[in-house]
Point group: D3
Chain length 256, copies 6
């Protein structure tokens, strides 16, 4: 089975850099994957990406060495298994509130006896190789998102879930959960304390900690703080950067 | 944030007129939205509309002032949130049986602390504006469908759900629920009594009442009866009207 | 090979009734085809229909006995052949100006030695049957549109093209060609004279004459006038009929 | 309502032969359906098939007499109902563990009072006919998959579910469930014993038994063993057979 | 008919700012259009955009005041007319070599008697309004690209084409045409001389001059030089800008 | 620029093995490409493949080392250039009748000064690399199909076209051209003589000769005869092979 490069990177003690896809379509995903990130996550929760697009994007990412990850829209076994069958090498599951939810998520990613994933890796075997079944339970990654008040309260139980590989922090939801605004790249003390709580729980449990960021600078800060994976790249952010050029051009024309 | 015109219409004491889309694809949705209805509902339950088509149809409706609504296929938080993130300004949820189901539905539409909607209004901010988060919980509409025997029995508890904006009646299912046939535009006394029960419960609770119809005439009757929103327009009904021309032409040719 | 029902109808001396699809997508095409028309034409010229949609629509029409026709966007051999390979049982070609253009069109529809169609009926054999090659040149229909001033002037030469099965009149373009407005269902004398010229040329040459209409009534008139095929059904017209309901409802509400 | 040919076949005491579609897209489905199988199942669990593709494939199957079935991705009412509304004449539901899950599945397929299916057979009425509602509860087929250890243990209770028409065995999952490898077409004694347990339970309860196979030979064996439906055809298997030609050609070239 | 804002801007003596779409899909087009550019061009020549995507993108642009333009892939009447029928308010045609080619292009955009555009503005009337036919010939814009050696030699004849509204320069092709490299934003004297030749010919003929650029800075320079339209925005350029972040992050990690 | 493996194979004096895709969609293309063929051709002439699907299939092929080729539907520069911009590493052009047509085809594939290809390798640079422009004219392959009587008569002039890399024989069309039936894998003397004429002309001119086959056995014969490229793999052929299983099963059941 094709090895999971994220596991290799972590085995070397290095942090991984991830890019995030919210735009539907294979070409933008291919452009993102070709930039050289360690992983590319296809966001089927807040991204505008249906099943058809997710599949095309997983193929597009597969033209590069980047590890294809999928964020599912909810903790639903059918959806989780379909992402894996389509070739995702890891799943990020939003809104995990407690250990039971986390176990349900992780077990949906693992074949028996470790879980209850149904067998049928239609594209996954094309991407991963003929011995996919023998290694899938140990190669594929499971990330639970801790981003609710309840999830934060249960962080220690969640990270102790057998088979869980890591936690991924969604800062906007986590900030809302503790009464803050939804903005990104915050250094609000309460939010930073929540980050720290999660990070320490992960380290204590021996699972990885990842975090969503909205800039290169914040990503570096998060690496320095000890996160094992930071999401730097973001297709919608790059595309929206054009808005500044439009404003600048408009202002320049008005001033002529 | 772009105001929700349905709220404005109701604030003026006027009923709203809605059109319904069952056909997949952006062009038919654009034609429907361009007719001048107050709202256009994209039906992802009984309509032949997947996520990809829903997104395209929300964009098509956005070329007009019509308020974009989505009927989800089931009371599932991931699906509800995806419709909102894609720019729906209201969600109609089928088959609400009791207050707990209704609360789960409504809370899936509201950011904390009012609910548990996850933050990531990828397209919703493009459509709604940069201050979307500040107003989304009060602008976006939530309609519970009461159309099962259990739902009818629990109507008072359902309409009392905090954050619920209205009830939408699906006459076929409601008729089946009380032992009748699935037809539309009925004036069967038992069904009319059920309508009245729901309508009075809505009025008592201060929430809006909407109803699906199959003709212009029945829509008018329902407005006169006090409904706040009637679904008049229906893409599949308009398209199917061609069948009468085919029959007429066939008969005319046979008679020549 | 599956017989071409239009040829059978004409062999019985009866006129054929056709429906027109401008809306992209398989479901609207299936609804149209299920109405009972003799033929359904997928309009890839003015319809909003790309290759992908045309293929899906040909499949949808194939769920019924209606004969699938395609109007191509222009007299281009690659495009014409692709429509036939996808299963069209006839092609309507716009804007034929003279006999040379007509011959190029017809020959693109016929295998050697009658023409230069390239062999590869990928889906056509699934729809038509294993002996497709043996009968395609005589079963498939070719309609040239005469709708330009030049085409009208050359009508006798055009209808004499070997292998041409019929002429199809596009009234809007023909009206523009003779200095009139683009409207449909006209009885403007000059336009009617042009219709008559074409019709008589067709009858003299022994080819069929078809005409586009915008109503049931005008279709009947055209049958009585002697046309062999009239297009009655029209998906966009049916869908747009909803606009009248919107206006009526709006006026009714305003008058309350 | 169009009769369900599978019921007719079984009424004649004959076994039915099914084909399986994992490849997305209407043309491959049409090719499969045109081969002459009694039924064609569109697999939206392990197949790479989203809603959009499923709809197109149901249309493609409808160009032939093959009965269109859908395997849903999970026991979710919204998804099950959408498959039926799109025209599936039967649903195969994976991973049924006990009688309660089976009842939930079956009732999602049945209109009240037999179940809680919501009324809106948008395409189903086009395919099935105008009297669809009157017969849907008795024509449409429900197959529960027994493929987990828990399901196997509860087989007798599951097959006793009112309204259940049959059981479908997924050999790979069933093998995993009893501690075996995921391979197909096995004759491992433990797996064969599980087959026999399920088959006898079905026969005792008067429901049909179907089984997934990976070859023509194994299908015949299963028919002889008493199964009522065997899945012989498989689009991905046929396509992948090309790999042998590639290897053979490569070896032949190397040996020249 | 909805007025063409580009004509209004030019009537006020102001230059227009355009954005360019190479990525397929409605959401990226909507993001681009929402930035505030005067026009958005959907590039179906070098962009990865088929007919289906072009239509969705024209709808997406129509959610904003930006004028929708299309660059066609080649000077083909069927393709040009389809872009206009889908709602483009202007067409940019590549590789115009001489006055005859230019006349063929322009006439494909104009209804008789000015040209030979076929009548059927299926979506164009939805976007433009019911009186589309009365104004289309004067509202819709035609841009010929001068980017070949032959085109450059014939620039004066080309710009004299009746009905031509402007010239659009593709710097890469123009540079290749005069023996240079394909790069953008060049100040190579030979290329600048070619720009000047074209610009002066346009000004002498009273047609507009537009130019493709690859940066905000170069766009400003081109405005100062006298161009009437500059393409500043570019979706693929914005998206690719993420590559710098990936490199920076990679270098930063390596240096830790 | 990524090297063209077909050129490398030929430089080593080895024949290349190609697979052919007629089914639309990225997953079937990925399955085909993963089998280990030297090249995979996406057939947009007789295949049921529109632009959107072609792009997805080129991406799917790019997940493997197979060289992506495209057969265009006709000798049209816009279409040819779009296939190359999407990442095709070679183009097969049907129905080349003479040297002028061949020159037009080849020049559409080459940047100035060798041809008139327009610059804008949007995806081609992602696949090929940043120095794409410097090497594209020498890396990308051009194959003319000789399959008409006229083409056969002009074979020597055609193969002498500067920049032409090879000829590809379509046996069905070539057989029709010389008065035979359209079947494949024929050994009819007249057809074999035509093959030999073309092969010798290619060898004399120093260009490659490729041929379409319908079986492994015929492919081997063609390699032995001296062809440089044989098309062995064929997705539709593999899929259709299932028809034999259906017939066998049906016969077996009938005989029980």
């Amino acid at each position: 089975m094709r090895a999971n490069r994220l596991r290799e990177i972590w085995a070397q003690g290095r942090p991984a850099i991830n890019a995030w896809c919210n735009l539907p379509g294979g070409f933008s995903a291919e452009l993102m994957a070709a930039m050289g990130w360690d992983a590319v996550t296809i966001d089927t929760q807040h991204g505008l990406i249906g099943y058809t697009e997710m599949l095309a994007m997983l193929q597009a990412v597969s033209t590069t060495p980047a590890v294809p990850l999928v964020r599912v829209s909810w903790n639903q076994p059918g959806e989780i298994m379909r992402a894996l069958d389509a070739g995702a090498y890891g799943v990020i599951c939003p809104m995990i509130n407690d250990a039971a939810e986390c176990a349900a998520f992780v077990q949906a990613c693992r074949y028996p006896p470790d879980g209850f994933r149904s067998f049928g890796p239609t594209r996954a075997m094309v991407y991963g190789g003929g011995d996919y079944h023998a290694h899938a339970n140990t190669e594929l990654l499971t990330f639970a998102m801790i981003e609710t008040a309840q999830g934060l309260a249960n962080v220690e139980a969640i990270v102790a879930t057998p088979g869980l590989d890591g936690v991924y922090i969604g800062p906007s939801d986590l900030s809302l959960a503790i009464g803050g605004p939804p903005g990104q790249d915050s250094d609000a003390p309460a939010l930073m304390a929540a980050f720290e709580t999660i990070l320490q729980a992960c380290q204590a449990a021996g699972v990885k900690a990842g975090v969503h960021t909205n800039s290169l600078a914040y990503s570096k800060t998060m690496v320095e703080r000890g996160f094992d994976m930071v999401t730097v790249g973001n297709d919608a952010r790059y595309l929206r950067s054009g808005g500044r050029e439009a404003s600048d051009m408009r202002a320049w024309l008005a001033a002529r």
